[in-house]
């Protein structure tokens, strides 16, 4: 049997003899491999971004939104009619075993002024629990306390974006800002969390004690009424239990009879995020599959050119068979040639695909990451394409009649 170094050398020589043709054939594989790698990397990036999102939301998170108003049959949407109270939140924490923490929230938009700077942002009244629930740390300063809440102190925690807009590079801690013209002392600045999937800036926010918000900023219809609350379940597995327990408890507390609609909604955010991750994964597979079609087309190009090559080199094949090349010697020679085309093309494609995916990730602010698995898969796929599409021409070559082949002009 002919040795591997020998057929490799023969393959490279044959491909060099037709540089242009080899290059163009390779281009098919290059594009195919580059596309597969780019698609897989971009898909992985998107998935990573969703995963980061889940992490930034805080894990095992439920949101309870107060019910919708209905006036004359037109329902106004969740949260339009505050039915939840701070007492509800406390009851949930007390009575639902699957719940580990609860934060009531009352939000509104307000203009915040510091010196000659002003910025319109979301102001949320809540309890200190919010930081635990959203797994959010204070970058400088300190969080507000239960005592601040009890006394409705005019203190606030500032998101990184607000701090930047109002204070630039200065540390806002200890400074006094005016929210709706009421002076608040900044006691802490939150860590940067970045954007949500929908492009919302999570750092464009100010947290104040819920009591302060209700008494000073947004007057609630009734004292203690809130728009929504965030609930942290004990674990991911406990999310559904928590959902059921909260629903049961609130129906009981709000005296909703069986058959009547809930006046609140419990949303499982973690589950929604998991769904988003699954979608991203399916997208990755889909994109990869579409990209591999171009790899397939590249393979057909190889087969085409190999068939031409076999015809052109009929005489050479005749000579080789005459001097003693066996069936598999000839087959291996041509398979090796196809394999060389696809592997060299594959390597170039990997480089281009990696550059491409880094560029796309950069352009779309996705976490860039060249998936080693993607590289491995597309390289393996390229090799498989070479062998698969090289086989038929090689098979044809090996069956040539040496007498006719030697006479071929």
């Amino acid at each position: 049997m002919i040795s591997v170094p020998v057929i490799t050398r023969i393959a490279f020589r044959a491909l060099r003899a037709n540089t242009m043709r080899s290059g163009l054939t390779m281009l098919g594989i290059i594009i195919g491999v580059a596309a597969v790698i780019a698609m897989i990397s971009i898909g992985a990036g998107a998935r990573q971004r969703v995963a980061n999102e889940v992490a930034s939301m805080g894990s095992n998170l439920l949101i309870v939104v107060s019910g919708s108003t209905s006036s004359g049959g037109a329902r106004m949407g969740a949260g339009s009619d505050p039915t939840l109270t701070i007492a509800d939140a406390e009851a949930i924490l007390r009575e639902c075993p699957a719940v580990i923490d609860v934060a009531p929230l009352q939000s509104g938009t307000a203009q915040v002024v510091y010196g000659n700077q002003n910025w319109s942002t979301v102001v949320m009244g809540t309890t200190p629990s919010i930081l635990n629930i959203r797994e959010w740390r204070v970058a400088s300063g300190k969080p507000f306390t239960d005592q601040d809440e009890r006394h409705a102190n005019k203190v606030c925690l500032m998101g990184a974006t607000v701090a930047e807009k109002l204070f630039g590079a200065f540390d806002p801690v200890g400074q006094v800002v005016r929210i709706k013209k009421i002076p608040f002392t900044v006691i802490g600045v939150l860590e940067r969390k970045g954007q949500t999937l929908t492009g919302q800036d999570q750092d464009d926010i100010i947290y104040v004690p819920i009591t302060t918000a209700q008494k000073k900023l947004f007057r609630a219809l009734f004292p203690g009424m809130i728009q929504f609350m965030m609930v942290k379940a004990v674990s991911t597995e406990a999310l559904e239990d928590a959902q059921e327990q909260i629903t049961a408890l609130l129906r009981q507390r709000h005296r909703i009879g069986s058959g009547q609609e809930n006046d609140f909604t419990v949303r499982n955010l973690t589950q929604m995020m998991q769904t988003a991750i699954t979608i991203a994964r399916v997208m990755t597979v889909l994109l990869g599959a579409i990209a591999s079609i171009s790899l397939l087309v590249g393979g057909i190009g190889i087969m085409n050119i190999m068939l031409v090559s076999v015809t052109e080199r009929t005489r050479e094949i005749g000579i080789r068979i005459a001097v003693g090349a066996k069936t598999w010697d000839i087959r291996l020679q041509f398979i090796m040639e196809a394999l060389t085309l696809s592997l060299v093309g594959g390597c170039i494609g990997i480089v281009l695909g990696s550059i491409g995916s880094v560029a796309v990730a950069h352009a779309f602010h996705l976490p860039s990451g060249i998936s080693p698995l993607g590289v491995l898969i597309s390289f393996g796929f390229a090799a498989a394409v070479g062998v698969f599409f090289g086989f038929y021409p090689a098979y044809k070559a090996s069956l040539l009649n040496p007498i006719e082949a030697l006479r071929y002009e």
């Binding site: 049997m1 005749g318 005459a322 001097v323 040496p402 007498i403």
Partner: protein, 252 residues
């Protein structure tokens, strides 16, 4: 040429038509070859029988289409007879598989073609190495043996030349080197001088004579030219698929 000497033992006395006791190298018995071209059946060889002994130098003549090329293809194991048997070294070759025939060609038969049939863009050395690629000869030995074969044909200093840098006579010498590099016991030459001028033709034929006499290689040459045929010790004439003449000269 020390490597060739062992072949001498096999060839023994280089007398054509030696007694029955010596097994002929090539023994063809009632071999026919019929090609089917559409509806026509063309009988290229019609039940021919002939024996060629080791160490002989045979010239084959005949007009085009007389079956001499078909005969060469069959004894060169490139083709199988339609009927009849062909014994090479006492072995019935007709029943062997394609790969077995390839192995026989590789080990015992060397081909020299009218059109040289060298690989383009490949040096003389690598062309000569070609048969050795297919029998697992290690790289350094390939090179050594190919260089030696090139020296035998007088091209030791041109091993790195490409076919298009060599004259016709030189190219044919490379072909001959390729034919003998594997210690072939038979060299089949199909009109080896057809593309060469008279002087070069003579040189090539002298080379065949030398290989035949010093290394005992059996040479079979197909030719149109009586001058070339004259180099053989035995002359077989073909006409319409049968042998019409088989004569042995006294002394070459």
């Amino acid at each position: 040429m020390p490597r060739r000497n062992d072949l001498g033992m096999q060839t023994g006395g280089t007398t054509p038509h030696s007694p029955e006791t010596v097994l002929p190298l090539i023994s063809v018995q009632q071999v026919s070859k019929i090609y089917t071209l559409g509806e026509h059946r063309v009988t290229a060889l019609n039940s021919i029988s002939v024996s060629i002994h080791a160490g002989d130098f045979v010239a084959i003549m005949g007009p085009s289409g007389s079956g001499k090329s078909t005969f060469m293809n069959i004894i060169g194991c490139l083709d199988r007879p339609s009927s009849g048997t062909y014994y090479l070294n006492g072995q019935d070759v007709g029943t062997l598989s394609r790969d077995c025939l390839a192995e026989i060609r590789n080990k015992t038969i060397g081909f020299v073609f009218q059109g040289f049939n060298l690989l383009p863009r490949t040096t003389a050395l690598e062309n000569v190495e070609l048969p050795l690629l297919y029998n697992g000869t290690p790289a350094h030995e390939r090179r050594e043996r190919a260089l030696e074969a090139l020296r035998v044909v007088g091209l030791g200093d041109r091993w790195h030349h490409y076919p298009n840098q060599l004259s016709g006579g030189q190219q044919q010498r490379v072909t001959i080197a390729r034919a003998i590099v594997n210690n072939a016991s038979i060299v089949l030459a199909d009109e080896p001088t057809g593309n060469l001028d008279t002087k070069t033709s003579m040189e090539i034929m002298e080379l065949f004579v030398r290989l035949n006499q010093t290394a005992g290689i059996t040479i079979i040459v197909v030719t149109h030219e009586p001058d070339i045929a004259a180099y053989g010790r035995r002359l077989i004439r073909f006409l319409d698929g049968v042998i019409v003449g088989d004569e042995v000269k006294g002394v070459a």
